[in-house]
Symmetry: C2
Subunit: 286 residues, 2 copies
């Protein structure tokens, strides 16, 4: 069932890409954007990402069947509360935040007095080191994994609505608990960012002039927004502690094998890492 | 002065790319390859990387004005000794190994009885996670940094010959000591590989199915050849110890800031890392 209106709160790289993809696939009669700053509103309209933009929440969510929170992690619960105040009865709400337990807990605590919540947490696993609607692309989510969370309070039809929406944008949807999501992304996303930031931070600028593609790729996500990622890390501390420990153990084993000139142990560790990476990148076909 | 013949010992990704580039720019009358295995020889001929291939070192280096050792790091000194036995007087020799002090020391110890060496160490900073001549490209070195090493034993005209050769292939040549080279690459290349291998090794295979582009890029070089990289790491142990320490300090600072919920310290660290990475990737223009 095509809703007459989809509202996206926060129209940057992800929100803008969702808007462009939903427009392209004609998933709603109107795609509206809610903005915090006038400059971003103007940019999104100029870029053609949304049909209509407003800085007024009531105006933005009025008549929307689906509301998508695509703002930085820390602001999502507050924006959800504000949107709920004005949303029409039956409107389904989701988000795109990179941590889920904290966001889902906060929002369900506010919304769940009836024992059911029309809020469903989502995390489309797409993006880049860039921010801003000018980097948005209608195909950003196409073929990407998208995790949708279910809790004891999740309304089944709201869950189906949200799953269906991401699937229509071409994402590969998996449903799991917020806790399981946080454990998985602590490893495949948050840890990768911590490691990339640390590598970029550890190397003196003067020496990077000799760096080649290996360094460029390994550090790419270290060009991501520091404030945005600080909040993602801070809202997933428990799982990051365990992921960071797993990395440290492997890294220490590799470095120690090098320092004690233990070629057999070193090759064994590197082969294990390569086989996992090849399995991920080439599906074990290489 | 265009030499009548250039011989490349070891024609894989790098050796093959050098051969293709030298052929394309007509830098020699003949490009010959010396091979260890017949299958690789056949593949290189089929691929058109070399004009002539042989498994006989004497045959391969006969008449060559420039000999390039493009074999795995650990085998370079032994191949250099063998090639020197058959090389014509005045032939200049260089290599492409990713560590320099160990290789240059070993070769100068053998060759330097006259107080001068026609061997000049080189490290063209290009490549990929792939191995084999089938991945060779004539433009691989074009625009890449290339470090050429100078020691007290380096013959000045041999140095100029080698510098000129890389420059003709489009590389950005810098001359420095083997020790300085090893310090720089321990940070920008070896450390990046250790970190990528460790990240790929630390994440369970089952969870990588949700991973997106960030994980793919951060771990890309973990698909590199484990034996090859083990030997690179093991021949640069001293510098890797110090580079690994620099990484660990930054990483520990980031993880500790997250765990103690210190947003100000965390943002400061991430901003420092982003600014270094942006400076490298966008020349400070972003």
């Amino acid at each position: 069932m095509k809703p007459k209106k989809i509202t996206i709160i926060g129209v940057g790289l992800i929100g803008g890409s969702i808007a462009l993809a939903a427009k392209k696939r004609r998933l709603a009669g109107e795609i509206a954007g809610v903005f915090r700053r006038r400059a971003t509103l103007r940019k999104a309209l100029k870029f053609g990402a949304v049909d209509r933009g407003t800085m007024d929440m009531a105006d933005g969510v009025r008549g929307a069947g689906l509301i998508i929170l695509a703002a930085p992690v820390l602001s999502i619960p507050r924006l959800a509360a504000e949107a709920m105040r004005y949303a029409e009865s039956g409107a389904v709400m989701t988000d795109v935040g990179s941590t889920k337990s904290w966001i889902v807990d906060e929002i369900e605590r506010m919304s769940g007095r009836a024992g059911r919540s029309l809020f469903v947490g989502s995390h489309p696993m797409a993006g880049s080191e860039h921010t801003g609607v000018e980097f948005a692309r209608p195909d950003l989510l196409d073929g990407s994994p998208c995790i949708v969370t279910r809790t004891g309070m999740t309304d089944p039809s709201a869950l189906n609505r949200v799953k269906g929406f991401w699937a229509e944008l071409g994402a590969k949807v998996t449903v799991m608990s917020p806790a399981e999501h946080d454990r998985i992304v602590s490893l495949i996303s948050h840890l990768a960012h911590i490691v990339a930031f640390s590598l970029a931070g550890a190397v003196p600028v003067a020496q990077t002039r000799y760096a080649a593609e290996g360094f460029r790729d390994t550090t790419r996500v270290a060009s991501s927004d520091p404030e945005l990622w600080a909040d993602i890390f801070l809202t997933n501390r428990k799982e990051i502690k365990s992921a960071a420990g797993a990395f440290s153990r492997f890294y220490d084993d590799v470095v120690r094998a090098i320092l004690r000139d233990d070629r057999a142990a070193l090759v064994r560790l590197l082969k294990k890492a390569k086989s996992k990476r090849d399995n991920f990148a080439y599906g074990g076909k290489k």
